[in-house]
């Protein structure tokens, strides 16, 4: 499929709109028959022009894919449109638990509780419910306890391209 850059950008924009979900770079490569490195450059260009141009949407990179989202600047209008409902934030307990899982995954509930010094069942349940963490397996010891790790949904939730973008523990 030979097309000029403008058409390619517009076509990708349409696909991102229709999908709604994260669209992987591999899927885009298949559609346009363009190799990955080149398409990545196009995507970088798209992200830039979406940010520079005066428009309501932006494109965000999540792992090896891209997704369309709104710009933070216009959130209050969206909230007004949605009957002034704001997104719920996590409890302090859930957030602490999440922080531990981010850096120590895969980790068992017992180890999380050892670090926090308190029971963490409900915090873990909340995070599982929201799809921010998942069971990644079981530890091969007595009782075969469940191991927890983070999901791609977490990246979207925190607006991170990848977990490597988290601050290193020594930087804090």
């Amino acid at each position: 499929m030979v097309m000029n850059l403008k058409d390619l950008v517009n076509a990708i924009e349409s696909i991102l709109f229709v999908s709604g979900d994260v669209v992987s770079i591999k899927d885009l490569c298949k559609v346009f028959d363009v190799d990955e490195t080149q398409l990545k450059k196009v995507m970088d260009y798209m992200i830039r022009i979406f940010n520079e141009d005066n428009r309501g949407l932006s494109i965000t990179k999540i792992k090896n894919g891209y997704q369309m989202c709104t710009k933070p600047k216009y959130s209050k209008y969206i909230e007004a449109f949605c009957n002034n409902t704001q997104k719920q934030v996590l409890s302090q307990a859930a957030l602490e638990t999440l922080a531990i899982i981010c850096y120590k995954q895969p980790i068992t509930k017992a180890d999380i509780e050892m670090i926090r010094g308190v029971k963490s069942d409900s915090a873990i349940a909340t995070l599982l419910n929201k799809g921010l963490i998942k069971e990644t397996g079981r530890l091969d010891t007595q009782g075969r306890p469940i191991l927890y790790g983070t999901t791609d949904e977490l990246l979207r939730y925190l607006g991170l391209e990848s977990l490597e973008k988290l601050p290193s523990p020594d930087d804090i």
């Binding site: 369309m68 710009k71 933070p72 959130s75 010094g117 308190v118 925190l158």
Partner: protein
């Protein structure tokens, strides 16, 4: 007039300890456990005064603190000094290390909160199910059950000589109707008893045509005894067992 006291809420004993240490403005590593213990206990007493439930984790920590403190107050005797001294240091050192680690994660949590708040202003479209863009009639033309069966047979026969067929066969067991059921046997025995009034175990067994039927008959008899419907008697060991209606059975 209402009197209100606002107590700070802590995420756990470590959170409370960190708060106390920060209040005393000393570095975690230089903290005096003795001093902190008193403040920690004071907080628990305050909670008690207000009849608030104290989570068990807070009590465990209190015990640990008191243990460290009391050990530091005891005179060190020469013979036991080596052991208890290092033990005490261990408990104290472990606690301090846990506090440092917990503090780090608390700080990370604060950072995550920033990300969360920033990202809360960003909205995503929910995932679109593109399946409804496709006409179903294209995928599924008019198909009858027979067509499905035929297609299935084709698939299975094309899989011959392959491992998959072995895999598939595992799930393709025939389900046979039970030749004899305990329920039927029970009914049969009761009916026969009604006609003949008495029956022997051998009578029943002789009529059976297979080992399975013998087993089912035997189980049926056991169930009838359990239900109090029949009674058994035997004149001598290894004699034939007599089966009769249970006279005390109340319908």
């Amino acid at each position: 007039m209402e009197y209100r006291v606002k107590l700070e809420v802590f995420e756990g004993p470590l959170d409370l300890l960190l708060h106390l240490i920060e209040k005393s403005k000393v570095d975690i590593k230089d903290v005096s456990i003795t001093e902190i213990t008193d403040q920690y206990l004071d907080y628990l007493f305050t909670l008690q005064e207000f009849d608030l439930e104290i989570a068990s984790e807070f009590l465990v920590m209190a015990a640990t603190l008191i243990q460290i403190k009391s050990k530091s107050l005891l005179p060190i005797t020469r013979d036991s000094s080596l052991l208890s001294d290092s033990e005490e240091l261990d408990t104290q050192q472990q606690l301090i290390e846990r506090l440092i680690q917990y503090k780090k994660f608390k700080e990370i949590a604060t950072k995550l909160r920033e990300y969360e708040k920033k990202q809360a202003k960003v909205y995503f479209k929910t995932k679109n199910d593109v399946a409804h863009f496709v006409e179903y009639s294209d995928i599924i033309p008019k198909i009858k059950t027979d067509d499905l069966l035929l297609a299935y047979k084709k698939v299975i026969s094309s899989l011959k000589d392959r491992e998959i067929i072995v895999e598939t066969k595992k799930y393709l067991r025939q389900i046979k109707r039970d030749a004899y059921t305990i329920k039927e046997k029970k009914y049969y025995i009761l009916k026969t008893l009604k006609n003949k009034k008495r029956l022997t175990f051998n009578n029943i067994i002789k009529e059976c045509s297979s080992k399975l039927e013998v087993i089912i008959s035997f189980l049926a008899i056991l169930e009838l005894i359990k239900d109090n419907r029949i009674s058994l008697s035997q004149s001598a060991p290894f004699n034939d067992i007599l089966i009769e209606f249970n006279p005390s059975f109340d319908r």
